[in-house]
C-alpha cells in the first residue's frame, strides 16, 4: 500500500465547482482515513484527504472530501467494508490539504529531508535511516525505534504503522528520500 503518493494527484482548482457539491467523511482516527482513502481511490472516486471541520477536530486528524452526489454508494461501500464514517457533512469550501513541501539538507554523505515538522536523515551510500527528528505525537518515538538502522526499503512504512499526522509528514520525508536517492 502506498496511499500517500496518491495524494499528489491534483484536482481542478475551480472553487465554484465545490459549492455544496462536496461532502466530508469524518472518522474517529487518522488511520481509518488512510484505509478509506486507498479504498475509494481504487474504486475511482475523486477524493481528497483534508483537515476536518472545526466541530470534529481533536487536534490530530484527517477526513475525506468526496463528491456529495456519490454519498449513497460511498457510504454503502464503507459500511460493507466495516469502515463506517462517524458522520457525513456537506461542505461549502475546500478543506486544507496536508502540507507536501519538503526541504533537503546535505551533510556530506548524509541527506536530511524535512516535511512540515518531521525530519528523516539517511546515509546516501547505504540507504540506511540514521536519524529521525521533530514531531510531537507519541508514535514518533515509536516509529524511530522501528525504523532507525534499517534500509529505506526494509523499514516499516510510517503510513501503515503510524497513527498520526506526524507519521503522515514523516512518510512525506521518506517518499522524497526514495525519490531522490532510491531505496
Amino acid at each position: 500500500m502506498n496511499w500517500f503518493k496518491k495524494l499528489t494527484k491534483k484536482e481542478p482548482e475551480d472553487a465554484g465547482d465545490v459549492e455544496v457539491k462536496r461532502g466530508l467523511l469524518v472518522f474517529a482516527h487518522p488511520t481509518t482515513v488512510i484505509s478509506v482513502e486507498e479504498l475509494l481511490r481504487d474504486e475511482g472516486y475523486e477524493i481528497r484527504v483534508v483537515s476536518p471541520p472545526p466541530a470534529y477536530r481533536t487536534g490530530c486528524d484527517l477526513s475525506v472530501e468526496f463528491p456529495l452526489s456519490e454519498e449513497a454508494t460511498i457510504t454503502e461501500l464503507l459500511n460493507t467494508c466495516g469502515m463506517s464514517p462517524l458522520d457525513v457533512v456537506p461542505i461549502t469550501s475546500r478543506g486544507t490539504e496536508p502540507l507536501r513541501f519538503v526541504r533537503t539538507t546535505m551533510y556530506g554523505k548524509y541527506i536530511m529531508v524535512r516535511a512540515a515538522n518531521m525530519k528523516m536523515t539517511v546515509d546516501q551510500e547505504t540507504k540506511i535511516i540514521v536519524n529521525i527528528s521533530g514531531g510531537g505525537c507519541p508514535d514518533v518515538p515509536y516509529l524511530a525505534t522501528e525504523m532507525l538502522g534499517k534500509r529505506l526499503r526494509d523499514a516499516p512504512d510510517p503510513g501503515e504503522v503510524g497513527f498520526s499526522l506526524c507519521a503522515y509528514s514523516l512518510n512525506t520525508s521518506r517518499e522524497e528520500l526514495i525519490r531522490v536517492i532510491g531505496d
Binding site: 477536530r57 486544507t96 496536508p98 502540507l99 513541501f101 551533510y107 536519524n131 510531537g136 507519541p138
Partner: protein
C-alpha cells in the same frame, strides 16, 4: 514539585508517576526502566541532570505507554484533569502526547479552579504545544519551545497541526523574526519562547531579546531529541529558580556546548549528546559568570 508529563513508546504501559532516576542508559520511574529515546525520555533525562547539578530534588515523571493509539495520552490528560490541584506542582512540563483538544481543555479547566498562587508555571513542547495552540490556549503557558517547522505552525493562525501549515508560511522560514511576529500577533506564542534552529531565538513578550548561534554544530539538527534536551533543561532551570528568560539563555548555550563536546555526525543518537550535559553546563556557567 517539577512534574514532567508525556507518553512513551511502550504499548500498554500503565500510567506511572514517581521521581525520575537517571542512569547512562535510561530513566526509571516507579520501578520501570525506560531506555533513552528521543521525546519524553530525553527531556526527562536532561531535566534530571540539571536538577542534580543544581542540587535540587529530582523531577517527578508522569508517563504512560502510547504508540499513537491514544490510550496513554488519554490516561495522562485524565489524571491531570482529576488530580492536578492536589499534587503540589510548581512547574509543569507537558511534552509528547496525542493532541486532544477536549481533554486538554479539561486539564486547563481544572487549572482554572486553582488559586492563582497554586497554579503551576506551564511549559509545553511537541504534541502538548500543538494542542495548546490549536485550542487557542497559549495564554495558559509560560514557555513554548518550537523548532522552525513548529514556529511556522504557530505563525499560521489557520493551522491546527504542523502538517496543515499553509505553504506560503512554511516557505517563510528564511525570515524567522516574521514567523515569530506572526505567532505573537495571533496570540499563539507564550510570554517566553525559545525558537530552536540554526540560530536559536529567545523571545520575551513579543520581542526577540537574545539569539544564540555559537558554537555552530550543524550536525545537531538531524539528531532526534536535541530539542527535547532544551525543553528538559529549561524546565529544571526554572524549577531551580532561574527566570524563564535566563533558563532559555542557559539551556540554549548548554545544548550547543554539549553538541560541540560530542562532535556528532548526523547518525549520532541523543544519548551521546546527553552524557556531556554536566560538563557543558559547567562550561556555560563559567562563561556567563
Amino acid at each position: 514539585m517539577l512534574l514532567l508529563a508525556g507518553a512513551v513508546p511502550v504499548e500498554h504501559l500503565p500510567l506511572l508517576i514517581g521521581p525520575i532516576e537517571v542512569s547512562p542508559t535510561g530513566i526509571t520511574i516507579d520501578g520501570n526502566k525506560l531506555p533513552i529515546n528521543r521525546g519524553n525520555e530525553a527531556m526527562m533525562s536532561a531535566a534530571c541532570l540539571i536538577c542534580k547539578e543544581y542540587g535540587i530534588e529530582a523531577p517527578v515523571g508522569m508517563v504512560a505507554g502510547d504508540i499513537g493509539k491514544r490510550e496513554g495520552s488519554i490516561a495522562i490528560y485524565k489524571h491531570l484533569a482529576e488530580h492536578l490541584p492536589e499534587m503540589g506542582v510548581k512547574v509543569l512540563t507537558l511534552h509528547y502526547v496525542m493532541p486532544d483538544l477536549k481533554l486538554n481543555k479539561k486539564v486547563l479547566a481544572t487549572i482554572d479552579t486553582m488559586a492563582e498562587e497554586d497554579k503551576p508555571l506551564m511549559i509545553a513542547d511537541a504534541g502538548s504545544m500543538y494542542v495548546a495552540k490549536a485550542g487557542g490556549d497559549a495564554h495558559y503557558y509560560q514557555v513554548f519551545t518550537p523548532d522552525l517547522g513548529e514556529t511556522a505552525f504557530l505563525a499560521d493562525d489557520k493551522a491546527d497541526h504542523p502538517s496543515f501549515t499553509r505553504g506560503f508560511i512554511f516557505n517563510m522560514e528564511e525570515d524567522v523574526p516574521e514567523l515569530i511576529r506572526r505567532a505573537y500577533a495571533g496570540k499563539n506564542a507564550t510570554p517566553t519562547m525559545f525558537v530552536k534552529g540554526k540560530v536559536d531565538y529567545i523571545c520575551q513578550d513579543g520581542e526577540i531579546v537574545d539569539t544564540i548561534d555559537q558554537p555552530s554544530v550543524e550536525t545537531m539538527e538531524p539528531i532526534g531529541g536535541t530539542g527535547d534536551l532544551i525543553t528538559g533543561m529549561i524546565s529544571a532551570l526554572i524549577y531551580a529558580g532561574e527566570t524563564p528568560l535566563q533558563a532559555c539563555r542557559i539551556a540554549g548555550r548548554v545544548n550547543r556546548a554539549a553538541g560541540e563536546l560530542a562532535q556528532p555526525t548526523p547518525a549520532t543518537q541523543i544519548d551521546q549528546i546527553l552524557r556531556f550535559l554536566p560538563e557543558a553546563l559547567a562550561k556555560v556557567q563559567k562563561q556567563l559568570g
